[in-house]
Symmetry: none
Subunit: 87 residues, 4 copies
Amino acid sequence: MMSESDRADQMGDATREKLRQFIARIERLDAEKAELTTDIREVYSEVKSFGFDTKVLRKIISLRKQDVNERAEQEALLDLYMDALED
Amino acid sequence: MMSESDRADQMGDATREKLRQFIARIERLDAEKAELTTDIREVYSEVKSFGFDTKVLRKIISLRKQDVNERAEQEALLDLYMDALED
Amino acid sequence: MMSESDRADQMGDATREKLRQFIARIERLDAEKAELTTDIREVYSEVKSFGFDTKVLRKIISLRKQDVNERAEQEALLDLYMDALED
Amino acid sequence: MMSESDRADQMGDATREKLRQFIARIERLDAEKAELTTDIREVYSEVKSFGFDTKVLRKIISLRKQDVNERAEQEALLDLYMDALED
DNA sequence: GTTTACCAATACACGC
DNA sequence: GCGTGTATTGGTAAAC
């Protein structure tokens, strides 16, 4: 039979504990993320009940997000130009 | 020139306001979700710095999630049986 | 020893041949794709030799592509509106 | 109003033209690459229609590619030896 | 070797 | 409820 100490040969107790902590942190964050996904789904349900077309609304929100990203990238490009001009 | 009332012909002010609120709520939740995504990525960075293999860790968490799902299904099945027995 | 006919028990000769053809076609296309990847890398090398900042150029090309996609999505949203108004 | 010559202060016409050419070449190659991606996807669709498991086929092709890479390494090693023998 | 970008695979939402 | 189409996620490859 394999004892606790044998297992420890492969990975120190401190390391094992650290691994457990990492897993716990990630799973906690994943759970919070899943909750938000549920919340969002519920809002879309409300939207539908209210009579709005969810597909259209999803597209609108998607486009608004793209616009924000686009602006951020334009900024990034500007920064790149600035950096390039410093040489 | 197009007046405010012309716009209102297409969609009532109250409806427009409601739509804005829905968009605001969803975008707020999306933003929180994005933050969590960032947080998770940062934890994985720590994991890597610590010397763990992130690919393996991702696999572990994925497997544990599957187990959780299976357990949830078992629970659901149990509830079904319990309900059936109450009839 | 396993004969040819034994193998054929598992997959008909015609089917085996068909499989080989699919693999050949895909690998041919993959090879062409890899060549293009090489070609593109070479152009970026030229770009660098010429004195342009490749990072900037990559960003520019990325933004141009996004603009095209963005326009396509705007069209899609318009189509959604049209569909919604038909009701 | 800003004249053509003002623009030229920042980047010579020849340089601008060169830049346009680089962008055109890269975008042309990108487009061809995208076509091949589409072609490959279509072949996989055929594969599926034919009754093969695409996931398995992808794995097969991936393994064959690895073998090719290994063979390429062998070739490179051989070249190294050949060069060494010429000295 | 780190990070980013792409691509396939899965999960989810909607309409029939 | 099923099948389609879309959004997210996970894995892979390339760039710096």
